[in-house]
Symmetry: C2
Subunit: 140 residues, 2 copies
Amino acid sequence: MSDPIEEGLLLAPKFDADGLVTCVATDAKSGELLMVAHMNAEALKRTVESGEAWYFSRSRKALWKKGESSGHTQRVIEMRVDCDQDAVWIKVEQHGPGACHTGRRSCFYRVVPLKQTGAVALQFRDAEKTFDPSAVYDKK
Amino acid sequence: MSDPIEEGLLLAPKFDADGLVTCVATDAKSGELLMVAHMNAEALKRTVESGEAWYFSRSRKALWKKGESSGHTQRVIEMRVDCDQDAVWIKVEQHGPGACHTGRRSCFYRVVPLKQTGAVALQFRDAEKTFDPSAVYDKK
């Protein structure tokens, strides 16, 4: 007897206690991991219906269209869901110079050295700024 | 003034209310997204110290070494942390035929069709089983 969540054809997202699933966004062409964020039911629905990435900000507790401030929107080329349906993967066409609010292409610009104990010193990698965040985001 | 979490060299993971960060595992060679899981402080520490992937299972509420039941361990080739340090990315050498407990290489074997409204019918993609999970996992 196969599990309908894992082997079925119905999209049945398993939202966590806060009503969220994890979303991983990669660059559809290069495969590069751009960002990890969250979607609530409404963000997921809007993403599926529009083909543009919508997220839910845990810190701001707000639905959020990627690029609504920066103009750096994400067109979704393909969306997948994982076995237990608590994570989605979107392959996106990233518009503009970057996905990260720090001004970089990807949010993952620091390496954690391995085989170490105690306090870990990160190493910057692929960390060039591709845009100036202070020029892109609305000043509040 | 730059934010030490975003621009600093100290690994300072931002664990959520359950004490977890999200972990994305990709194949170090192909770049393929294999799985999304979670790490608590102990899983992160063990992964950094050993170079082997450890996770924390939200459903079982237990620390878990990837491959402890299946033998399908993950050697971590590189680990990165994201801007706000609530997600880590590990590029792994996946041992054995797959990362997914359903018997597949990746957990992301179903596509969510876009530009649709209402109930969504998933489409299987890259969904070949590479091993028989009933033969690999301990029977309880």
